[in-house]
Symmetry: C2
Subunit: 256 residues, 2 copies
DNA sequence: CGAGCGCTTGAGCTGATTCAACAGACGTGG
DNA sequence: CCACGTCTGTTGAATCAGCTCAAGCGCTCG
């Protein structure tokens, strides 16, 4: 299960030979369940393993002195939050579960062994860590320069595209089990303002976030509002923000 | 000169054997001069080289539709802005010179050859790229959660500590040739507000930025204001923000 | 000496925050 | 089965940090 997820994820950012895939599928690790709100890794930890999300929804975050926190990224199934632990000794931030989740714990020696044998896998793991750096840059830009409604649209676009890459899209929706407060921690906004901004976007009819699920009704326009360009995700088969295949009229529209 | 800078920089984040250092010193590359405002790499480029700063001051930045831009990081002499190009095909941002600068251009094949021969060097280059990711995360947190004066103090602390690590500190000052507008692009503030905030910090007596040079009068208090904790820089001999050796009464104080 | 660039200052505006109250959903224990 | 506390979402009103627009100043360089 761990190898399968790893394989799927690395395939989304680069090509794998059959031998590479085979080696990945044989990766050994422990499967661990996590309660909501529980950290897998906390700031200051010196971990000897990396993490892959098998089920659920995690986030990387750090607390500030005054009790506020910043979320640096969300992680859905198949994604690999902690590759940086391979070469960074201690955590300067934490990795926690947004909802009850299941993760794979892969010991560093196992990964180093694998990378020594399969240089292509090493290259892709490195690449993945670099893509995540690109995501941090994009979040920096988003939170620093965009007004609330654009920033939120941008985040929704990113999560949507990543869900697509992970094969987690159903019709035009994906899981996004974030409370408005958590959304605020990601966007650098208060929960109150997230609430009002979310209502604005809902009214626009482009997008909705309800019961922990994100519904994207018009990706192109949402990308327009959020100034979203998926290039920074460096996906192999990424959608261009401009050319997007149309989607079928969604069933939940009947609900309105 | 390129090898020397590379050696010095990697030494700041990890230990190098004599053989590693020797191999690094023999690295071949082109030395290139850059006019102020000129990009070495622009968004969309597909580079076949990495960059090391030999002299001057660069920044990584990206433009937004509306003409604003976000600076993701500054780079001073000995630092290596573009390691990610090793495994990321095209640039999703640009690297430009803040002042007239000199950079080393090291072709990818040269770096791959080196890394194949010296696995420790590979580990450190990977580590360096991960440290930069940690810096992006910190910038995200800073710009998203801190008020202007704290954010500015935080940035000053980072540049100061990095200058120290690069051996570029003279007494308690280092080069920081940023206009107030550029500072605004880094902090996500307007030039006007940067101006007012800078005056506040000046009045506090803790720090000054004048004629392209940053003077830090009281690092500990500045770190306090900026909630700065240097751990995220993952330096080998990093100062702790709490325990800082006292510095001599600075000469330029006579200037006031 | 004039042009341009960077810095400074003022005044009014606005997007986001704070504080406070309330409503609905959910789970737990009596 | 209901009562109650907790968590999440919603709304209103007052406040404020940072922005916009606009003008002016001083330095440097051609």
């Amino acid at each position: 299960m761990i190898g399968e997820a790893l394989c799927r994820h690395l395939s989304s950012i680069g090509e794998l030979s059959d031998e590479d895939a085979g080696a990945l599928l044989r990766v050994k690790g422990e499967v661990r369940r996590l309660d909501k709100g529980r950290d897998v890794l906390s700031a200051g930890d010196v971990p000897h393993f990396s993490v892959i999300v098998l089920k659920g929804f995690l986030c990387r975050h750090s607390w500030k002195r005054d009790g506020t926190r910043q979320i640096h990224s969300f992680y859905m199934a198949t994604e690999t939050p902690c590759l940086e632990t391979l070469h960074i000794d201690y955590m300067d931030n934490s990795l926690g579960a947004v909802m009850p989740s299941t993760v794979g714990i892969v010991p560093h020696p196992e990964l180093f062994r694998l990378m020594e044998q399969r240089s292509r896998v090493q290259a892709l793991l490195w690449r993945e860590s670099l893509v995540q750096a690109a995501v941090f840059r994009e979040w920096l830009t988003r939170n620093s320069t965009l007004p609330a409604h654009s920033a939120m649209a941008h985040l929704f676009c990113e999560m949507f595209v990543r869900a697509e890459a992970a094969g987690l899209l159903v019709a035009n929706s994906c899981d996004m089990p974030t409370t408005q407060e958590i959304l605020g921690h990601a966007l650098g906004l208060t929960a109150v303002h997230v609430n009002r901004t979310l209502q604005l976007l809902r009214q626009s009819g482009l997008v909705d976030l309800r019961n922990g699920r994100l519904y994207v009704h018009d990706f192109d326009q949402l990308a327009q509002i959020g100034e979203f360009d998926p290039h920074y995700l460096h996906l192999r088969h990424g959608r261009s923000s401009a050319r997007r295949r149309t989607i079928d009229a969604p069933m939940y529209m009947a609900l309105n």
